[in-house]
């Protein structure tokens, strides 16, 4: 579903963020993307959606190269949960924000409404439906942003720090839902316990390259590897 073929990227010419990154993710796979702050996780997710253009190499999404002509198709297939939910929500109420995407893709008003109710029920967020986005707490906003993305029903789900600012109950709920999805998932996070729960495979980014790519069980248990790249064992595996 997603493939990176010798991809390099830099915001500023003399400071490469990604260099020669290659990997591929199959349909239905759940992959964790880990790495220290500034390792390039968010950048990588943005490359997939064509928000940034690689300086070298090629990215394929659902068999389509990420080029200007394919952007609409690719963005319909893949939904991104941004790292900052402030920037993800831009309409007055949660309901309107959820309806924005489907309506743009010509989903009928009734179907959109049905999806909204279904997603909100699944996330146990029905009470937020008509609330104003600017009056939500940080965590509520996070949940709303997740609802917005799920409402698009994407084939590929890209999540940047989904559990950030969530309380234990909501974090657990997001984990359960992520587990129950059958879509292709790529989840960038520092919450390694969550990655362990939701992903079968982990890609570790460090110094602009893929430092490790393997089964979650192996990578996340490799204390030496994690510590060498500024990370720690998941809490559950410590002690």
């Amino acid at each position: 579903m997603i493939s990176f073929d010798h991809v390099s990227f830099a915001y500023e010419p003399d400071r490469p963020v990604l260099s020669d990154v290659s990997f591929s993710i199959g349909a239905g796979e759940a992959v964790g993307l880990i790495g220290a702050n500034g390792a390039g996780k968010s950048t990588l997710l943005q490359l997939i959606l064509g928000l940034l253009a690689p300086t070298a190499g090629q990215i394929l999404v659902g068999g389509l190269p990420v080029t200007k002509e394919n952007l609409r198709e690719i963005r319909r297939k893949a939904g991104l949960l941004m790292q900052s939910s402030e920037n993800q929500l831009f309409l007055p109420t949660v309901r309107e924000d959820m309806a924005f995407g489907p309506r743009n893709y010509m989903v009928s008003a009734e179907e959109t409404e049905r999806r909204i109710d279904e997603v909100l029920a699944r996330l146990d967020l029905a009470h937020l439906k008509d609330r104003y986005n600017h009056k939500l707490s940080g965590g509520e906003r996070r949940m709303a942003a997740i609802a917005v993305v799920l409402c698009l029903e994407p084939e590929i789900l890209l999540m940047d720090e989904p559990t950030i600012t969530l309380d234990p109950k909501n974090r657990r709920r997001v984990i359960t839902i992520t587990q129950s999805l059958t879509q292709t998932r790529l989840i960038a996070s520092h919450d390694l316990d969550m990655i362990l729960d939701t992903c079968s495979r982990v890609i570790l980014l460090a110094d602009g390259t893929v430092a490790a790519d393997g089964p979650a069980d192996e990578v996340l248990r490799d204390r030496a590897l994690l510590e060498a790249h500024g990370l720690e064992l998941p809490l559950r595996l410590q002690g």
């Binding site: 609409r72 920037n87 924005f100 995407g101 743009n104 104003y132």
Partner: protein, 267 residues
């Protein structure tokens, strides 16, 4: 800064006002837009000494504010910065136009005074009418209505994005001033030495955020058309409102009601 926060709050309150419910809110945006434009045109069309027509014209907004359940005082409070400007426009009329019109006791009322007051009334009436439109209609619905009138989408998109951007700008400014004051306790305002970097930073930050928001829109399939406002269909009620309003306005404009009432009273 409190003042910024208050401005942001007021801005948001307008948004909430616009989605509340009343017979006026439920009207089709296009119907409200058309009648508002017509009202403004008619108000402006009165000759410059037509002061006595103004109270009659004022009945329209007074009545509609009641129906919309929006206090008129709110309008004046919100427009407190603009109203003085309206006053300033005709301020010099009394000095230029000194032809005496009539006498009230010892005071000679001049044509300039009347035209000044008329202009003032016209300004206030136009503002109250526009405020009512904005307070009872969501901004995006208004833009959608403009699209229906074949206003170019470039313009309506620009309006909408600007509208969104104002909030972003105010949010960033408010967050930055808060951060500043937390580290500069006891300071009133922002020290002049920090203004340059502060403004620069504000611009960069709000541009970054605006760009991110724009990306968020693109990611959800936005391609230059707003689909999310489903305008209700233009019903018979809306048509009645427009036609009735237009007929009433025309009547008031053509028949000198104030004069009629006056002559009846005198007789």
């Amino acid at each position: 800064m409190e003042r910024l926060d208050r401005a942001l709050g007021e801005f948001r309150q307008m948004e909430e006002l616009a989605v509340s419910d009343s017979p006026i809110h439920r009207l089709h945006p296009l119907a409200k837009f058309l009648t508002t434009v017509l009202y403004i045109l008619i108000v402006v069309s009165y000759p410059k000494y037509a002061l006595r027509a103004m109270p009659v014209m004022a009945l329209f907004p007074i009545l509609l504010y009641q129906i919309a359940r929006i206090p008129l005082s709110l309008c004046f409070y919100r427009l407190r910065y603009i109203l003085p400007l309206v006053c300033a426009v005709g301020l010099f009329n009394p000095f230029f136009d000194r032809t005496p019109a009539f006498q009230v006791g010892a005071l000679t009322v001049t044509g300039g005074m009347i035209s000044f007051l008329t202009l003032l009334c016209k300004g206030v009436l136009c503002l109250t009418a526009s405020f009512l439109l904005v307070a009872t209609t969501r901004f995006d619905a208004l833009c959608a209505a403009l699209r229906k009138l074949h206003v170019p989408s470039l313009l309506t998109n620009l309006l909408l994005l600007t509208y969104r951007y104002i909030t972003v700008l105010m949010e960033e400014a408010s967050a930055m001033t808060t951060a500043y004051h937390l580290r500069a306790p006891g300071q009133k305002g922002i020290h002049i030495s920090a203004w340059g970097s502060f403004l620069g930073q504000l611009l960069l930050r709000s541009m970054d955020r605006a760009e991110d928001l724009f990306r968020a829109m693109q990611l959800r399939g936005w391609h230059g058309h707003f689909h999310y406002v489903d305008l209700p269909s233009f019903t018979a009620r809306d048509a009645a409102y427009v036609c009735g309003g237009a007929a009433l306005l025309a009547l008031v404009r053509l028949v000198d009601i104030a004069g009629l009432v006056g002559s009846l009273l005198v007789r």
